[in-house]
Every structure is written in structure tokens, then in C-alpha cells.
Point group: C2
Amino acid sequence: MKIERKISIKQYKPSDGFISRYQKLVREVVIPYQYDVLCDKAEGAEKSHVVQNFINAAAALRGEDVGDGFYGMVFQDSDAAKWLEAVGYSLALYPDKKLEETADSLIDIIAEAQDEDGYLNTYFTIKDREKRWKNLLEGHELYCSGHFMEAAVAYFDGTGKDKLLKVMLKNVEHIYRHFITEKHDGYPGHPEVELALLKMYRATGEKKCLELAEHFINVRGVPLTDGGSFYKKEAEQRDWTVWGNNAEDLNYQQSFAPVREQSDAVGHSVRAVYLYTAMADLAAETDDKELLNACERLWSSIADKRMYVTGGIGSTGIGEAFTVDYDLPNDTAYAETCASCGLMFFASRMLEAAPDGRYGDIMEKAFYNTVLAGMQLDGKRFFYVNPLEVIPGVSGIAATHWHDKPQRPEWFACACCPPNVARTISSFGTYAYGEGENTAYCHLYAAGDVEFSFGMKLRCETDFPQGFTVRYTVLEGEGTLAVRVPSWSVNTSVKLETSNDTAAIKQGYAYIEAKAGDVVNLELDGSARFVYSSSKAAENTGCAAVQRGALVYCFEGVDNGGDVLSLILDDSAEISVGDAVPELGGAETLKVKGYRIAPTEGLYTFEKPKKVSEELTAVPYYTWGNRGENQMRVWLPY
Amino acid sequence: MKIERKISIKQYKPSDGFISRYQKLVREVVIPYQYDVLCDKAEGAEKSHVVQNFINAAAALRGEDVGDGFYGMVFQDSDAAKWLEAVGYSLALYPDKKLEETADSLIDIIAEAQDEDGYLNTYFTIKDREKRWKNLLEGHELYCSGHFMEAAVAYFDGTGKDKLLKVMLKNVEHIYRHFITEKHDGYPGHPEVELALLKMYRATGEKKCLELAEHFINVRGVPLTDGGSFYKKEAEQRDWTVWGNNAEDLNYQQSFAPVREQSDAVGHSVRAVYLYTAMADLAAETDDKELLNACERLWSSIADKRMYVTGGIGSTGIGEAFTVDYDLPNDTAYAETCASCGLMFFASRMLEAAPDGRYGDIMEKAFYNTVLAGMQLDGKRFFYVNPLEVIPGVSGIAATHWHDKPQRPEWFACACCPPNVARTISSFGTYAYGEGENTAYCHLYAAGDVEFSFGMKLRCETDFPQGFTVRYTVLEGEGTLAVRVPSWSVNTSVKLETSNDTAAIKQGYAYIEAKAGDVVNLELDGSARFVYSSSKAAENTGCAAVQRGALVYCFEGVDNGGDVLSLILDDSAEISVGDAVPELGGAETLKVKGYRIAPTEGLYTFEKPKKVSEELTAVPYYTWGNRGENQMRVWLPY
């Protein structure tokens, strides 16, 4: 079944463009700042203590008394892992001796914190070794291991250094012994290790990685022999909790049924897409059609019923979770940045099994809208939550809107999203390009040179997402070029420069045979369009949004007289492209005809509010909130 | 300052009409069913144990071991009190010997449960007398006392029997001794006793009642001498809680500032309006202009910024509370039935200080929409929560919508709303009519005869809210008739039958001198109209609702092809009156021109959804949910 695989990090060399500018930001601002945070040297940031936790864990292993030596969330370790992973990718593309030395020394510190039996987790090592593996519901031990496995592979790919890889192989041995050899029940409360084990398997060939990934996926949601759930039994067997999570809420961690029987995307949205990513990856790896069918159902549940137009997922802050079909509130959305990273991961694995434009479309949507919106344009502040409507005075203040901040915060105690954005941007090339047998897949448009394993070397030139022309030049070799034609591009031309025939398009991909010297030009549709949603999505009835290319736009107060709640779209009028805004990294505005509703007398009135024509200004959603606190709306009434 | 006072229950004798039909329902269905619940004899209802709690408390006072003899909420006693209050009103209007005997015997049981020092509360009497008065934050002791005081006055007014009144005077002595004589700090976590003490004061002339009411109002939100809050100190002094309420959330029980300094309606909405009711009553009673100013600010906060078009208040289920200005989500509204009863109480007290149509308008709006919607048309099921949009599959299911049920439940463990509706309907006359010096105030239109203290006897004939003609005949005496002219009545005629001159209207009231034999005809505007809301209320931008007279309408699936989410109003068209619906108690539908949006391909699309003309059908909001589970919407896009 496997017909396509992501390229590895070093196969893509970015050239100057939209993506490389973001990667530069990650390299020059985000990675150094995050390292300062990990070391508690960043001014204004909340205390992290991550590095000190590892130092203290090592001391504890040596038998020293470190007292109350752990600080932070139970999954605090993962902040270091995600940082190392981003560094691995960044070093692959942009070697940096000093950064590599810093990372090497952090890896040394981490290695010291590994127990002699291979266990690696500072929370339990420092606090209470007796509690290891006794609270899979909340303990995040496998989650942290997973992130270190991802980091180990990325760092090996980026630098060729395998110290962390060896640490994690030893950790795999430990996990294998506990769950397989010693037959302990259980599976991770927060899926992550499954997808990481599959990466480890590919990087090392170690079969135990594959076996463990399969094991955790296969036992998930399967009732114990007494018919009950693992988490409930586990909770009954201990007299402590981390947060008091409800062991009976089986939706929360997607354990309400065996994974092959699941159809609705439910529960904590990051957990969900991390799990589905591994499921899709394993299905492709092992040609497991039943598992792939479940993935397709879960994909459809998200894409067709539970996803915001921005590629955000998770409709509620209560459990940071999916809710039910078509429940997509704009103002109280959770739409966590991490969840949209995870949706990209899921999409990239679905593409491995079937190169279908639907997956690429949403991978692109999630990246250019919610993932990028997660980061301030200066790389210094981050949204965890990405609502589609923000009203200062309500957002972040009302109990129902506490999580929807009108401005990006600096750094959270729970620092999951910033490093997730960093690692996703740094490894963008691996999502953009894939390779099958003699086929070069171009899922996303990323300027740079790609070396495919089958011998083709390809150059991509584009200003996407701001420009709509993509030029592919085959520099060396030959094969099939499979170029995604996005569903938003209503009028598209894709052809060999030497030909007049537009290539045939199959399931969202144009397939063109090409050899060294050939040039393939993709002309995408740069028209801005109104977007409408199904009337089943109650929040958006009578409303439209605006999209141009991959970018969904929004209306901010700063461009619209301070008040976007009184705006009405005239969706019969043309949308025109406005000026590039320097403070928004040169992003272009869109100009839309519309109206402004005059203020009413009182809260309710029989008088139909007067409306006055006004030219409305929209900016790309990913740039919102970069010019101070103000109102923002994606959907406007028409 | 006091220029108007509610009439007492026996001054109004209903004649056959809309109100008397509801009172009949309360008398024949609600009161008997609720009594069965109190005695744990109602099939299908959750266990109540109220009567048994009193029996057990009496036994405990006699020194018997009743073990774990209390069941229910900490405020379970109040269910009996609200039932007795409704019975008192009902007996005043419709004598019923058997019901009176039943109530008498319940009063005997309650009296036995009073401690010899006057304390009356089964929760603490049974569970732990040592904990009395140590948790005002959560304990509801004063709340329950308040409800028994209201019941005592109502039962005395209705039957002339004063046994419960004497019990409650002894209880007042106890409370006075604790809080005034012995100078214990503190005030009720749930306001209620304040308004009840003012009723007791008027019924008995006992000055301690007035003094206590003033005391609790005046100390509320005033920092202790060390600058801290009472609730925080109280919480520090005990090692137990009832529910673990946050003693530092001073908004929740309106104690964030002294009441005279409060301006925004915040916190638990029932607590809020019960407090404001007492504040307004005390302000009128004591001519306290500063307190009245605070009431006017709080009124404006509700009426101009924090109230649904249905007269519902409380925008969130989190704390059953107000949130912030203009945050009025339709689908996740709390809008508790009890809170709209409380808003009527507040309005009726504001009218005491100043007969201004604004108060009468909202008293009417709250009653005919949210209060009545709280009860199934057969009197057997009740909404606690009154959303303005319901979607089966989301409402009552999604974590954000758990409280918004698509169908009225039978009886809750927390049975606050059903008896509140019952007592409000039974005492409707006291809200409808008031009297000042030689002036007969007609705030609401209620068919029947009223005897005013100054000698006028007035007959009112009307089919309101279904009809729009109100005919007042002075049967005896003379004086000024002050008839409210509602703001929704755009074209109104109000005049003596013998005159051609429409009366002058001052602040929403037409004042007409009338004597025995005079007839005053009020012709209200029965046109149905579209309602628009301020664009500051983000939920309703681009939408309109439909109103006719006092009744706000809604669109239900059952009348509109099963799907109201795809409906669009044509607000340029006339609204016509449709048929009366027998299953809805003869309520008339409204017919509105509009469109239905065709289903889209997928969740999001660039294709503007096609729309097809359709005649839309609306029914009065108070009747919704009486024909099975279906979609409902008050606001539709236009």
C-alpha cells in the first residue's frame, strides 16, 4: 500500500522565500529564546526548570538527596525534547557550530538522567521511583519518551550524532521489557510515543520499535479481560493522581473503543491527531487496510464536520477537545496551535497511504493559517488558542472565553505550542515533498532544491503563499513529477514549459513525466473568493469568510475603524487586492465592499439599523493580533 | 420617595383568561405534583426527602439518633418553603380546604424542626449543630430562612393563619441575636433573606426585620477591619466545605464591593437579582437615594447590556452567571428560569420607587417569555435553562452545552425553578397591580377585579397577551388610573370611552382620572415586528428576531421542515398572523417570508449557497419544546 514517503530533512535545501524567512526566525529568535527559557535565563518568561530537572534527576540517580527538586508540569521534560528536535532540523539545513555544541551538552545532561534500566523521566525519578508506570492516564512518561525519540531521530538526521539515539534505544528496551516481556497492561494517556516509535524504527531498523508501536495502537480501547477499561482499573489501584483526571472519560484519550472501531474524532484534540498520525503511519507501513479505513473515517470526521475554516480543531476549552459534529463556535474555539501541527502530521501520513489532494489541502490550510497564527511575526509571543472571533472585553475575560486571548502571551508554564511551531516550521520540507517509486511528490509549495532518492534533483521557485506561480526545474535525473493542485485553485494551469497541454489531474495531483532540463509551470488561481459554510454549522449561518489561495483572511479593528462587529459583507461585489502591509511582513490586504451598521438606540430595537457603505479591509488570519489588542472576525454576515 | 406599592394577594380576583388558566394549571397540576415530590411519592421524580428531613430534624432535636438522616442539597428545605408560598397565594385566590389541611400539617412538621433557640434548618440540625452559621458562603441557612419567611407571609395573607409567621418571627429573633446582638460578622452567600425580611417587616411591623435587612445589605462587600473579605476569613476558620466554592470569587455572590458602589450586574444571576430586589425595596422603604442610584445602575447594566431579548439573564452555565457587557450567546445561554422570576421581583421593587414603563416592560418580557417557557404547557416538566438556540445533537451533549437541554426535564435534584414558577404565576396579580396615593397602577394586563386600598374597585377585561385590547371599568370609587403603555406598542390608544382624547403618557404610563362607571379602553399595537439588536451583541449581528406584543417568537423545526439552521428571514416583508395551534394552548403562529439555504457540498465551499423562497413559521418562545425534541432558534439571519 505504501506508495509515498516523506523526504528526510536533508533532502530539501530551502532557497530564499516565505518558508526560509520563517525558518530564519525560528533559528535566530525562537530557538535561542527557548533555550534561555529551558535554562531559566529568559526575562519575563515563566519559570521552566527543565534543564535543572535533568541535573537533579541525575543527582537523584547517584543517590544524592535533591529534595523537592522537580518543578513544572508532569511533562516538563518534553520541552527539552521538542527544542532538541527543532534544533536537529535547523542544523540539518543551517549548520551552526555553537548551537550544536549547546545541544550536545544538553544531550549529555539528559543522558545522565537516564536510569540504568533505561527509564528516562525526571518527574518520577526525582519525586518517587515507586510510582513509575503506575499512572499512564496522567503520567506522560511515554509521551515524554516519544518526544525524546523524535528529537533523537531529528538530531541524528541533522548532525549524524547518535548519542541521544542510543539513549532512546535503551529507553525502548526498557519500555519493551515492561509492556511486552513483562506483559504489563496499559497504553499512553497522551498518544505520542506510537508515532515516535515508528520514526525510531525507520531510523534504526530496530524491530522492537515497530512492535511496540503496534502494541500500543492495538491495545488501545480494548476492554480488559474482565470487560472494564484499563484506565479505570489503573485508577483503582493507586491512591494518588497528578491532576485528578477522570479515568472514566474514555473519550478524552480516545480509548472508548478499539482504534479500528473508532469513527468520530473525539476528546483532547492534540491526543487525537497524534494517535491518528501513528495509526495512519502504521497502516501504510504494515499495509493494514482495516486500520487505514478507520483513519479515513476519522479524517472525514475532522475534515467534513469538526474543523474550522482555518484548519483549527478542538471546539472547546473544556478538555481542549473536539465536541460534536458541526459545533464550531468562533469566539470560544480552542483550536490549539499544537492540534493544527498534529493535523499536519496526520495529513502527511495519510498521504503516505494515498496521495490525495484532500490531505495536502488541509495540511496546507492548517499550516498557513492556524500554525503560523500561533506565532507573533517577531517570533517572540505565541497563541495556544486560535479563535476565529475576538472581542477585547469578552475574550480572555468571560468565564466561557478565558482561553481565547486577544493578544499572544509570552510563554506559558505549559509550553507545548511554541516548540511545536518551531519544529514544524524547521522541518517544513519534509511535509512539502515526498517520494514514491520514481515519483517526486510536491505536496506544498516550498522554494528550494530537493534531491529525491531515485536520482531526480528538482528546483522549486515560488513566492507562495503570497505569489501564485510555482516553477519546477528538473536539474538532474528523471521521473514523474506529482504536483498537488489545490482545491481552492478554481482555474489552474500546470504544464511543461515546452508543451501547450495542461497535465491531467488525478485526485488533486497533476502527474507529469519530466527529465533534466524540463521546466514545469504551475499557475495557481490567485483570485480572492468568499467562503460559505454548511448551514449545519450554526455559528456561520448567514455569514461568509474571505480566502485567497491558501490564506484565510480576517477583519481586524485596526483596519476597520476599531469595530468589526458592525460590518456586513457585500458578497456580490468583487474582492480586490490591497497594499502590502510592512508591519505584517509584507502581507497583502484584501478590500471588500460592504456596510457598517449604525449604532442602535439601546440593546434591542424594532428600527432596522441603518447601514452605510464602507470598504472593508481584510488581512491574512496568520498575521492577526500583531498590531495591538483589537477586535477580529473571520466570518462576517453578508 | 415611595409612591407605589404592590397590592396584596387578596386584592386581585382573577377572571377567566390567560393568567387564570395558568393559575389553574399550577393549582391542579403543579402544586399537587410538587407535594408528591416533597413526600417522595411522585413517580419518576428524583428523590426529594424534604418532608422526611424535617421529621428527622425534629427527632434529632429530641435527642434521637437519626444517623445519616439528611438527604439532598444543603438548601433542600427551601423546596418546602416555596411550595408553601405558592399554596398561600393559591389559597388566597382559590380556597381549597383539603390543600389547606395538607399545608397546615406540613407547617406543623416544620415547626417541630425548629430548635428551641429559634434556629430552623434541617441540614445543620441533623448533620452537625456545631457547624451552624460557620459557612455563610455555602450553607444557605439564611437563604432557607428567607424562603420560609416569604412562605409565612404568603400563607398568612392567603389563609389568615399565623403559625408559620410566628415560627419565622422566632427565627428572626435568633438571627437578630446572632448577627446584631452578638455582633457576628457575615452576610448570606445567597441573598434572599433580605427581601424576605422586608416582607416580614411589612406583614408584622417587627422593626428587627427591617433592621436585619438593612444590616445584611449594608455590610455586604464591606471589607473587614483588617481589609480582607469576610468570606475569605470565614473559609480560613473552618476545615470543611459543602461544595468547595471559591471564597475568593467575590463576584459570584456580589460581594466585590459595598452594594452602594456596585454598578455592573455580576456573578450568579439569581443571587444578583434577589439582592437587587431587596436593595430597591429597602431604598424605597427608607428613602435611600444612594442605594436607589446603585439599583438604577445595576438595572441599566442588566437591561441595556446583559439581558436576552426574552428577558433571560445569565450568559453562562459556569457559575450560572452574568459574564460581561454584550456577551449574550444564544446556544450556550444559562438564562435560568429562577433568574427571570428574580428579574420580575427586581422590576416590581423598582416600580415602587418610580413608576417607569421601563421596569414594567421588562417585568412583562421576563414573565411572558422566560418564566413561562420554564414550564411545559401541561405543567409537568420544567426548563431550568432557557437558551435562544437549541440543536439536538449539540445542546445538552457538547461539554459547552451540557446545561442547555433540548427538552424540559421532569424534576431536578436541585428543584429551584419549578416552585419559583409556581409562586410567581400564583401571585401574578401582585406584580400586575400596584397602588399609590389615590392612584391605581396597572403594570401588567391581567383580567379580573382589583380592590385598591383607597376605595377604587376596578375590573379589567382582556385576552392579553393573545389579544391587544384591554378594557378597564371602574366599578366603585374614584382616583387616577395609571395604565402602562408598553414600549413595544408603537401605535397605542388609551382613553376614556366617553372621550376622544388619548391620555397623555408620562414615562410609559397613561394617567387618567376616572370614577365609578367610567370605562378606559387601551388599544395596544398587535403588529408583529422584527427586532434587531445592537451590533455590540456579537451573537446577533446580521440577525433579526420576531416579536408581537409582549411575546418574542422563535422558529422550531417541527414547523419548518425539521431544520431551522438553513432559514433566512426576509425582513422587508410583512409578518402575518397564522393559525392558532391547539397543542400550544391556542397560541397563534406568525408567518414570515424568507428563504431556505440549500445544502452545501462539504463543510466549506466557494459556491454561494442557493436559496429558495419559503414561508417561515414562528411560535411564541414560551411554547417551544412542547412538541418533541427539535431545533429552535430565536434569532435568524436576514
